[in-house]
């Protein structure tokens, strides 16, 4: 009974996390806190000032999510980053 989290490869490499990451959590915020237990510091790469960083997008299933969004048991969470730069 866990949530399956897909993270961008760059984050998985920095924090040495598997793909997917299996954690417990009833909301996106709880899922991110659980990720931080496995990879200390990873939460701050996704969240600051009490909200998702400006270039981070989270989906629960196929729906846009924020930190308060509930995550169903056995749900899927996907973290996607903005693509930009040069």
């Amino acid at each position: 009974m866990s949530v399956s989290v897909r993270l961008p490869r760059e984050l998985r490499q920095v924090y040495e996390l598997p793909d997917p990451v299996e954690v417990e959590g009833g909301t996106v915020a709880e899922v991110i806190a659980a990720l931080d237990d496995l990879g200390p510091g990873v939460a701050h790469r996704l969240v600051d000032a009490g909200r998702l960083r400006r270039h981070i997008v989270v989906f629960v299933g196929v729906g846009h999510a924020d930190l308060d969004t509930e995550v169903p048991v056995d749900g899927d969470v996907t973290v996607v980053t903005a693509v930009a730069g040069g």
Partner: protein, 346 residues
């Protein structure tokens, strides 16, 4: 020797012996490195690293260590604050484990455990004059941290565009130190704060003389920043980003002026380093070994430094130049790097 080279896309280490250099790295590939500092007392290198996506971290590596570590625990304005989007300065303090970091939006953080955890020195950001602060082209950034050479309670910071601030009590209170420098985009008369300090350094061997490259000119202070006098006579432009200082001679400094304000590259496409040996009264121009023409490059605020062995600068076009005769002549240390943002010797 090692020349740590922070770029727009990672941190490189140039390992040099005489005029031979080898390039190692990058660490943090793809992430921006705006400031680097090596603390010889703890044999630790610190880097201010920013991912456009994942935000800023302060990274550190012990000499001989296999890899870089980073932490941002406490490196935040908290749930109610603005999002921290950039790390712009890192500087080891005088006590072992004491490290300062500057951020965007502008604020100052302190670690007393070698960068493991951080806490904001919030009195700076809540200073009454902060209403005069406004973002420059790179945002509202605290880019320069200058510890006092002997008094651990004293510290200067440079903020664009807020100016120079000084604390005499370890960051519990601050005062702006910008008298004599204008901010014409704000008011006709110089305000107490809001100046666009591009770089400020304490002169070698001094606790009171400072050199500053400001958006509106080159300046010197002989009273620890309380008042500033222009020293731009003999320079081709009042605009530029870096100033480097001699490690022991308080009269010697180097500037690399740019055409201001919207062009922001070297005059006539020819990089030239201007050295003063009399505190800014006169300058000599040095181009030996530098491109003679068609080099419309930029040298940014942290990309020119000096130490006992040499003077170094890195360019927006990915070159690093080194001089071992105090700027008389220059040679390539590296080429084809990403745009260079910061240098540090260690």
């Amino acid at each position: 020797m090692r020349l740590f080279t922070g770029t727009r896309k990672g941190l490189f280490t140039l390992v040099g012996e005489g005029d031979r250099w080898e390039v190692e790295g990058p660490a943090f590939a793809g992430w921006e490195v705006n400031s680097v500092d090596h603390d010889p007392h703890t044999a630790t290198t610190y880097a201010a690293v920013t991912s456009a996506t994942y935000g800023p971290v302060i990274a550190r590596r012990r000499d001989g260590g296999a890899s870089w570590e980073h932490s941002s625990e406490g490196f935040t304005y908290g749930d109610g604050g603005p999002e921290l989007v950039g790390a712009w300065a890192v500087k080891a303090g005088r006590d072992p484990g004491l490290v300062y970091a500057g951020a965007r939006p502008a604020g100052l953080f302190r670690s007393t455990d070698g960068g493991e955890t951080w806490a904001e020195l919030a009195a700076l950001r809540s200073h009454p004059t902060s209403e005069l602060w406004s973002p420059g082209a790179a945002g509202l950034i605290l880019h320069t941290i200058v510890p006092h050479p002997s008094d651990p309670q004293q510290l200067w910071v440079g903020i664009s565009a807020a100016g120079v601030y000084h604390t005499a009590d370890g960051g519990q209170s601050w005062e702006p130190r910008n008298a004599g420098i204008g901010a014409p985009w704000e008011t006709p008369e110089p305000p107490p704060a809001g100046q666009c300090c591009h770089k400020v350094r304490l002169a070698g061997g001094s606790a009171t003389r400072m050199f500053q490259q400001n958006h509106v000119g080159q300046y010197r202070s002989d009273d620890a920043g309380a008042t500033w006098d222009p020293i731009d006579t003999g320079l081709p432009s009042s605009f530029g980003f870096p100033v480097a200082v001699h490690p022991t001679d308080h009269d010697t400094a180097w500037f690399l002026p740019l055409v201001g304000d919207s062009r922001r590259f070297v005059p006539d496409g020819q990089p030239a380093v201007y050295r003063t040996r009399d505190g800014g009264a006169t300058y000599t121009r040095h181009v030996d070994g530098l491109p003679a023409s068609h080099a419309h490059l930029v040298v940014l605020r942290d990309a020119m430094i000096a130490d006992a062995d040499g003077v170094y600068f890195g360019t927006s076009t990915g070159q690093v130049f080194a001089s071992h005769d105090e700027g008389d002549s220059w040679s390539h240390a590296a080429d084809f790097l990403p745009p260079v943002h910061a240098l540090a010797v260690g």
